[in-house]
């Protein structure tokens, strides 16, 4: 049963990556634009790489503090519940405040890694992974830190950090695969027209996703996953 849950959580990491990657708002059209502007396909790979780097840093920037927290603080259940609550709150905030953060428009168009990092931060993309990540940690290391000895606790922490890095990497890889596929297909076959045709307003769906994931986190904190 726990193997199935663990597999489901890893699939959630991958699917959220696809979901972020395929959304034009997360940047793949910028890779098409870069290739067309510089007139060489290599520019597309470079742009996708920068978008991925920014996204990865945003994920790890959110996940690492949580991995430290579950190690340092004894109340794991409360932390997981609190994390879920934060994610729900972010979802509700995005549902109410539909304004795009102006700061994103101040970034130089060539600084794609910075843009990708801030765009992911502003939209709570990293937060979406937190309940999933904490769920994975919970399943990998049942019981909380206080119950273990000192040595075990240290290995627990390094395990949690390793898990955070793995979650961020797997998620970013999935995102980059989806984004790259979209960019390559549009660049080589479908043409620029597809950018406006394939773009759907996911603002509401995105906010609702955050709320659902956050609620899952709150529920799983107490149900023992």
């Amino acid at each position: 049963m726990e193997d199935v849950s663990l597999a489901a959580l890893w699939w959630a990491v991958i699917f959220s990556g696809f979901y972020h990657g395929i959304n034009p708002g997360m940047g793949w059209p910028l890779a098409v634009s870069a290739a067309l502007m510089e007139r060489r396909p290599w520019a597309m790979a470079k742009a996708l790489g920068m978008l991925a780097l920014g996204h990865f840093l945003a994920m790890i920037g959110i996940l690492l503090p949580f991995s430290l927290m579950i190690f340092l603080v004894e109340r794991e259940t409360e932390i997981r519940f609190g994390a879920g609550l934060i994610v729900v709150t972010m979802g509700v905030y995005l549902l109410i405040n539909r304004k795009h953060p102006k700061i994103l428009a101040r970034i130089h168009p060539a600084r794609l890694a910075l843009w990708s990092f801030l765009a992911a931060m502003a939209h709570g993309a990293g937060l979406m992974l937190v309940p999933i990540y904490l769920g994975i940690c919970g399943l990998l290391e049942p019981g909380n830190v206080a119950a273990s000895g000192h040595a075990a606790a240290q290995s627990l922490m390094s395990n949690d950090i390793l898990t955070a890095l793995t979650v961020a990497t797997v998620h970013t890889l999935a995102m980059t695969v989806a984004g790259s596929l979209s960019a390559v297909i549009v660049y080589h076959w479908l043409g620029l027209k597809f950018i406006s045709r394939s773009w759907f307003n996911l603002d509401t769906a995105w906010a609702v996703s955050l709320i659902l994931v956050g609620m899952f986190g709150m529920w799983s904190a107490y149900s023992g996953h």
Binding site: P29, M37, A105, H108, P109, L192, K193, I195, S196
Partner: protein
């Protein structure tokens, strides 16, 4: 907010050219005098419509003395860049500033035939939030709607330099000044940019006392109007280079960058060269070292004329200056249209090689001491002025008013407003359409034109035409 991007947003200039053609034109009407109301006229351009070529709807303002001039959309094709974060805005509102009153009207034209006033921003709000006055050019861009102004603070607009301010593109709240470092810039007129390359170019007319009561001949002859253009690091909001064309190149007005964002060049029209009364076009470009350069690539000669036929202002020169007051570049960056408001001519240059433009076509209409009639036999008062090109480049529209007090100086015995259209053939032929002639209501003048779904002086594109 839409669930899909607005169908009038196009990734590249090429896609915009291939899109369905415009169904309506929106033309600004300004009162003949400052005690009359300004308004927006909606003109039917639907092929086969019973009311084709007629004004089918007008919205008049409740105020007077605004002097509408240039205007623009709340959103354009630049929304299709993920960097803007505005992919789901509607192209729905026209932002129309009054350059005399500093009042700004927002018209809702979602249903063109039911266009209405959506919001009015009072002058006091503009003054208080920006310290600028006399708002002019509108472009939608990063962070919102950019508005250039011609005046600074104070009653005559000379307390501090004019500049650009930014408005929220959804609420139309004024956010504040744009400039972090304006460098030598102390006058303003037009501006435009290349969004992916992150540069902006701005130009100079003159300060409010130099234009509000008509052109000041002493200032013109002593070269006190603007003659520089400024290059900006767009997102850093910093003037990176000021280029002086030379003080005799008076009134550097319209800025027309190439539409294809891979290109780093554009054009600027100069009203008059005070050494010889020529009109001039400069081509500006960025060289391999990243420095901006410019070169005079088009000159248009004045026409000798008997002083008896000339307005007071020109009698001493015995000539009609071309007066290059507006220019517009087709979306394929091929043809540059140049309005010669004094001569009464609209020129069409092939600018495929931007440093070597070739005169490809010419239409004569109106003009000082010439008054060429429209092919339908009717008068065209003043001369060809604000020009707008359809996205596909096949139709060129223009009106005739420059600015109320200047109309009266250069054409003292005329009044009225007309809008005409010329057809451009696939071979580049350029001829007036004898059947398209819009006469504006008594007591109004006609100024800038905007075409439904975008035109050649509104949209900025973030993807190249490949």
């Amino acid at each position: 907010m839409n669930l899909r991007p607005d169908p009038t947003f196009h990734a590249s200039p090429k896609l915009a050219m291939e899109a369905p053609v415009e169904n309506f034109a929106f033309t600004i009407m300004l009162g003949k005098n400052a005690d009359q109301h300004d308004g927006l006229a909606v003109i039917d351009l639907r092929a086969g419509s019973d009311t084709y070529g007629q004004i089918v709807h007008t919205v008049m303002t409740p105020t007077t003395g605004d002097e509408f001039h240039h205007f623009g959309w709340n959103a354009c094709s630049s929304s299709l860049s993920p960097l803007s974060g505005h992919a789901f805005l509607e192209r729905r509102y026209l932002i129309v500033p009054g350059i005399r009153s500093s009042r700004i009207y927002i018209f809702d034209v979602k249903s063109p035939l039911e266009s209405k006033i959506h919001k009015i921003i009072e002058p006091e709000e503009v003054f208080a939030k920006t310290g600028y006055s006399r708002p002019h050019t509108i472009h939608c861009g990063p962070e919102g709607i950019y508005v250039s102004t011609l005046g600074g603070a104070g009653p005559d607009g000379t307390d501090g330099p004019p500049g650009i301010f930014i408005m929220d593109c959804e609420s139309f709240e004024i956010i504040g000044r744009y400039e972090m470092d304006r460098g030598k810039q102390n006058k303003h007129y037009d501006f435009w940019w290349n969004l992916p390359q992150d540069y902006m170019v701005s130009s100079e007319w003159g300060l409010p006392p130099q234009f509000e009561n008509g052109v000041v001949p002493e200032d013109l002859l002593s070269n006190k109007y603007g003659h520089s253009i400024h290059f900006w690091d767009l997102r850093a909001r910093k003037n990176i280079q000021t280029m002086d064309f030379g003080e005799n190149y008076q009134m550097a007005l319209e800025i027309r960058p190439a539409h294809d964002p891979t290109k780093s060049y554009g054009f600027c029209g100069v009203v008059v060269d005070t050494t010889n009364l020529q009109g001039a076009i400069f081509t500006w470009w960025r060289d391999d070292d990243g420095k901006w350069q410019s070169k005079k690539t088009i000159t248009i000669d004045p026409r000798p004329e008997d002083p008896e036929n000339l307005p007071e202002l020109l009698k001493g020169f015995s000539a009609v200056p071309p007066l290059v007051t507006d220019i517009d570049l087709s979306l394929d960056d091929k043809y540059l249209y140049v309005a010669c408001w004094g001569l009464g001519e609209m020129h069409q240059y092939d600018v495929s090689d931007p440093l070597n433009p070739v005169l490809n076509g010419k239409v004569e209409l109106g003009g000082i001491a010439r008054e060429t009639k429209h092919p339908n036999g009717k008068d065209f008062v003043y001369g060809p002025q604000m020009v707008e090109i359809s996205r596909d480049g096949k139709r060129v529209f223009w009106t005739n008013s420059l600015y109320s007090t200047w109309d009266n100086q250069f054409y003292p015995h005329q009044e009225g407003g007309q809008m005409v259209m010329a057809n451009v053939g696939d071979d580049g032929s350029f001829e007036l359409d004898p059947d398209f002639y819009v006469n504006f209501p008594e007591g109004t003048r006609a100024h800038q034109i905007r075409l439904e779904g975008g035109d050649c002086s509104t949209d900025s594109f973030c993807y190249p035409s490949v």
